[in-house]
Amino acid sequence: MKADALYVGKEIPRIDGLDKATGRAVYSVDVNLPGMLYGSVVRSPFPHAKILRIETSGALRIPGVRAVVTGKDFPFLFGALIQDQPFLAIDKVRYVGEPVVAVAAETELTAQEATDRIRVEYEGLAPVFDPQQASAEGAPLIHEHLEDYFHSDCQILPKTNICSLHAYSSGDMDLGWKESEEIFEDEFFIHAVAHSPMEPHAAVAQYGPSSEEFTLWSATDRPYRLAQDLVKALDISFDKVRFISTFSGGSFGGKGALVAEGLAVALARFTKGRPVKVVYSREEELTASQTRHGALVRLRTGVKKDGTLVARKANVLWDNGAYCGFGPNVARRGSRTVFGPYRIPHVELISHLVYTNKQPGGAYRGFGTTQMTWACEAQMDIMAEKLGLDPLEIRMRNAYVEGDLYINGQVLRSVGLKETLERASRAIGWGKSESRKSGTNVRGKGLATTIKGTSTPTDSACFIEVAPDGAITILSSSVKIGGGQKTVLAQIAAETIGVPLSSISVPNPDTRLTPFDFGVSSSRTTYHMGNAVRRAGEKIRERILEIAGEILATDPACLKLSEGKILKEGAGEQLSLKALLAKKFGSKGGTLLEAGYYTPEKSSLLEAPPDRKGMSSIFWMFATHAAEVEVDTETGRVNVLRIAAAHDVGRAINPVGCEQQIEGAVILGLSNTLFEEFKLEDGRVLNNTLADYKIASTLDIPKIIPILVESPHPEGPFNAKGIGEPAAAPTAPAIASAIFDAVGVRIKELPITPEKVLVALREKGQR
């Protein structure tokens, strides 16, 4: 760790801020190519039905229509973990909104008019919307041939709607219950919500008929993941797919799977080389992309009277929607966070992922942690109340510290959890006695904490290239989804190599040119790609000093590179990098090129008993949110006054960037909790516009106090870890905890609505 860092830890404005502030940034919705056609989609109005007949002649007659594609024309299945999802429905539909027919036409209006003319005949099948009903015997089968799908890494139950079953235990449950002095049993529910990024899903695809190559322009945050999905689905080779990344108008997990891309590909296959653009309408974005998985959690927890946790058994039922996506991973890795960041000697987990006839669940910021944290933290509060403990106290008693063992036996390093609890609670004035009532309004405070790991092991690779004049390019496939990824990588490179930040450019990824990256997800970019960049950067610096040594006839060990200048020990500045390279290459030109590859695979930090090593994470993130709310006891409305959000990031490479992530996640969590829900009627989403699917506006936000906790990670680039994913997890339980503190009502099912609060208040007799 450099004591006098120039870039790491400094408030560096985003290097792509200029493009965004001037309107120059090109997002996937902005891509415009010569000869481009526009796509439009006919979607199922039924949640579960057989397709009997599709009548497309009305559409084909319209001038300007260039292709009409059905599932029969393009009968492929995709899916990252279970290959269960058609590009266009083939013989049946499984959710309202599922794509059935796609049209490409010269103008958007023509494409839309063409889809209006297409007639599809269905035969209804009994739908099932509730995962409990869907997993019961005799439930209508949503995927009759589940066992025929290619699937990796998950346990499916054929002839049922259960597409992933995961069980885990460690310790001795019987002993655990015996040693417990109090046992709590509670059930919690958390609802599905939409990602609804401001930029809807969109993609342009082009198929070169003679090359048989697909080129895609997309805002996906995982271009290599999507390329792999296409390659597997279409049974083609990797060199036949190229993803060119645009700027992304927000993902929150939703752009890590084939959505608009799949439809664009299906159309482009039939338009004789003309590119096709598919832009989701807001209605399609809200109803036919992906959602956060809803979950029902049953917790049985044994504790000592002083609040020490002894045993926990968790039954988790995940609502998958109609297709899998990343569901099995959410249900497996996400489920484990139901044990919280706490020492629990005896644990047992049974998790079911169940199909229902609704919009598919997908990766959503938190990847299951948000759902589990809701249940875990809500129960911590219930136990605290019963045992007469302060909610902060019970958490401090059980919180992980450096050197503790995770549930699989991994030794935990870089554990800033307690500091997040201390600082968040202090920032909100925890424990201070203040006047609470004002008219019909009552105030209260609450807090919650969370743990999240990162997908391990995953790989990142990059090239760093130095042009003859010293301009440096980082070739990396980390997409800029708004999390400041580009800036952080540039900071790491600048710091590592010893050059001004302004000499570094980080172009948008292009899988033809930028090497493999697992993707921007799982809060992994700073750590993994950051390490790859650091490794490449170190090699670049060595090479530069080696050349300098040659040119100056000096031992490179006496030379330093700082801010683009070669310095000699005891003799000051010798020459600039630019001058050095000019001397080296002359008019012929040349380049310096180094690769950086990082995978945590061999790290000793992951050590655990062999059959459980897969549960280790190369780093763990911890966060605590402390909330102060005001409840209007006449209307049930909850006004969140402030939220202190403390996050252990290892090392804040870009503190402003970290604050942005924290503030953003608090608002996402708050919005999900208080304003958002899908109003369903027979599987159809009634609130399919942003007028009725309500997202927090400027008038709905509390004062947010972001707090950066740094508990250095031994192997992170400049000791950094990650931030984005867990950031929204503790918000809901912190708010619920504060409501309980204010008015003594306990909400166990999300979302928190004024009606629920009012009903609970009445039941409590406080009206």
């Binding site: 309408s281 304003f675 309500k694 400027t698």
Partner: protein
């Protein structure tokens, strides 16, 4: 996003030409003011006009004309934001400016018009309850002539007013507010930001000199009936004796009984009913406080 189909377009420059076009062309030809409701309905397919008659080229329909001691006449094409910002409206009819500030969002208010808001006949209109308690009349001109009707009488059902084909609202007239009167509009939404009202309550009180004596009372409710309606029995309660906290509560409870909200995706009927009582109580109290301060009047 949804694109609009081909249509015929007219830009008349006189009111009579507009009325003539709408009457002659018949079904499929729609008047077009701010467009904030019309275009949304067209994109969703709930309206499919074949022709639009743009009213905005007609001169003189977007003015706020206040006459000393004689109230105000507001043109139908006056934007919601113009009403929100008008110093005349803010000083003489502040509740209307407050209601205008709650419609949609700032950018929508720059496009939307008061005539369009009324004509849309949304049960949840934010403007109409305030206009009702301010005793507004609507002037309508059409093929069969002109008429002036109290605003609470023009609504038939959600999305429909008594306006027939060719009829246009040509002005909204508010009589002078008396001194010792006050009015308030409260809106309950799911979030603080741009929201369709779950419940809206406007109340106005005119005191007869003494603080407790109510000369006139009006209460209007939105989002809890097929159209914004007056809670006449609740108004009667306020007039029935000296005003105090208990009578306010009583009036609010009666207002609750007068409405017939539905359960929809936004809220349940029972919650809406409860909130009518809460909001009515708060709105009446606020109007009373303002009347006591003599905030309205010249």
């Amino acid at each position: 996003m949804r694109r609009l189909a081909a249509l015929t377009y007219y830009e008349p420059i006189t009111l009579s030409a507009a009325i003539g076009l709408l009457a002659e062309q018949g079904e499929g030809t729609y008047p077009f003011a701010g467009g904030t409701d019309l275009l949304v309905q067209m994109k969703r397919g709930s309206l499919r006009p074949t022709a639009l008659v743009n009213l905005k080229r007609i001169d003189g329909l977007n003015r706020i004309e206040g006459r000393r001691d004689q109230g105000v006449s507001i043109g139908p094409l006056t934007s919601i934001s113009a009403i929100e910002r008008s110093s005349f409206i803010r000083s003489r009819f502040p509740v209307l400016a407050e209601a205008a500030a709650l419609v949609g969002s700032p950018a929508l208010r720059n496009l939307g018009t008061v005539g369009g808001n009324i004509g849309r006949a949304s049960p949840a209109s934010d403007m109409v309850p305030s206009l009702i308690v301010l005793r507004a009349h609507v002037r309508i001109e059409g093929p069969s002539g002109a008429r002036e009707i109290p605003i609470d009488k023009i609504f038939i059902e959600p999305g429909r007013t008594i306006l027939l084909r060719g009829d246009l609202i040509t002005s909204i007239v508010l009589p002078e507010a008396s001194s010792h009167s006050g009015a308030a509009y409260l809106k309950l939404g799911r979030r603080q930001g741009m929201d369709c009202a779950l419940v809206g309550v406007a109340a106005s009180l005119t005191l007869a000199g003494k603080e407790q004596e109510v000369e006139e009372a009006r209460i209007a409710l939105s989002a809890v009936a097929p159209f914004p309606l007056r809670a006449r029995r609740a108004e009667g309660v306020l007039r029935s004796g000296p005003l105090n906290a208990k009578r306010v509560q009583e009036a609010a409870a009666v207002a609750m009984e007068e409405c017939s909200p539905i359960t929809d995706m936004r809220a349940s009927a029972s919650y809406r009913k409860d909130m009518v009582r809460v909001l009515a109580s708060r709105a009446i109290s606020r109007a009373w406080a303002m009347a006591k301060r003599g905030e309205e009047g010249p």
